[in-house]
Symmetry: C2
Subunit: 249 residues, 2 copies
């Protein structure tokens, strides 16, 4: 591999050392180089270093311990606001307050976010992506004062690592890659793709801890359960409506 | 910058030279290293090299000339199908057929997609991201035989470049970065952020060609007009419903 991507692992313990301005800028610049729909750059990166604001954000991410030390949180937002504001100043009527442009803006935002992460790791920083952002998107929007047309999608914790965890395991490459067309899985293939993960030490530990018969049930009974999934779907959709992503469907 | 990200530009002319298996594999492996929600890897990459299938996909991308020569298309899909299938085989009831998991799966898919692009460029390949994917997502789903729980999000054209375009211009970094909180733009700031773009040769050429008074109107009157945006919003949302991303809201 010619990039440093194969060394990625999520970092969950950070030194409080601040990130030098020029290093942070390189990461942000890398983000801005990502492909973007029509070169419209429909995203914003909110870089929160202020201690008081980080303290306010911590409960939005379930007070995970890494939030105490990591010097910087980057909230990645889909943003049709800035572009629409420009249009209005030019007597052009923007028509991006709809679902298609939530998806386009999210695409822009997430491609940029991954560039940020790749560059951060190249600079010796560690990162962790916080999926909790969806759960508490409304509260995050309030704290960060996001205007209409802007919603948080995910959050990057970034700082100097204070741990050196093993590389994360992944399913075999065959699991996620299909050649030519989607190749439907047989039941036996599914068993095979998950076999290594299911037999790992880590899985054994989790099953003991949770008193459940298999790894899949850890996901469906403990980590991501129907009730929460539905509540998040509803609250996030509601936020999209409030922020004007369904003004005209 | 320590990665090769700052050299990114979209490539729209390709040599038909096939991508060596091992190079393609490195790019796919890089994709699989991206952060993923709960390590669930809720995405699929459909790598289409077959000429007949590429011919079928070309109209989905408005027959852009690059599609004729580029040897490979990667359709990036949100995928809750594979994970749900595994759950069902383990007497675990998956509950990912809802909007929150469309967003989670999209996040996984797009982070992986950008890793693919960064590694492809590190390997001397060129890429172009096709936003047309949303417009024709249903037809793409048919051609690629995507099952329930799988929807296309974007498409990466990839191959060896047959042109060497200038780096794409971007808004000044200040446009997309906010420190601590979202810092609302003043009208004057918006003017300033777009000034360079509006005064460029390229913009002058576009205005002449389109007989319009400013760049913003090129976007709102020509490129991405309300009627199309609404039609795409509706058809994409309808596809999400059909594919089971709103089974229980």
């Amino acid at each position: 591999m010619k990039s440093n991507i194969n060394k990625h692992r999520s970092i969950r313990k950070y030194r409080p050392t601040p990130i030098p301005e020029e290093v942070l800028k390189e990461c942000l610049l890398a983000a801005s180089k990502a492909s973007t729909c029509g070169n419209m750059q429909l995203y914003s990166l909110v870089v929160t270093r202020d201690e008081e604001l980080r303290r306010q954000l911590a409960p939005c991410h379930f007070n995970q311990p890494m939030l105490e030390n990591a010097p910087c949180l980057v909230t990645v937002c889909a943003d049709i606001h800035r572009f629409s504001m420009w249009c209005r100043q030019r007597d052009a009527e923007p028509a991006y307050d709809n679902f298609a442009w939530f998806v386009n803006a999210s695409t822009d935002a997430l491609l940029a976010a991954e560039n940020f992460c790749v560059e951060a790791e190249a600079q010796g920083l560690g990162i962790c992506i916080l999926g909790t952002t969806l759960y508490t998107a409304r509260r995050i929007s309030e704290i960060l004062q996001l205007p209409d047309g802007v919603v948080p999608l995910t959050t990057i914790v970034v700082g100097y690592p204070d741990e050196s965890p093993a590389l994360t395991d992944r399913l075999p490459l065959d699991a996620v890659v299909h050649y030519d067309r989607y190749q439907e899985y047989t039941a036996a293939e599914i068993d095979e793709l998950w076999a290594e993960k299911e037999m790992s030490e880590e899985t054994r530990r989790l099953l003991d801890e949770n008193q459940l018969p298999n790894l899949a049930q850890i996901f469906t009974e403990r980590r991501y359960v129907r009730k929460d999934n539905l509540a998040i779907s509803e609250s996030y959709m509601e936020l999209l409506r409030e922020k004007g992503f369904f003004n005209n469907k």
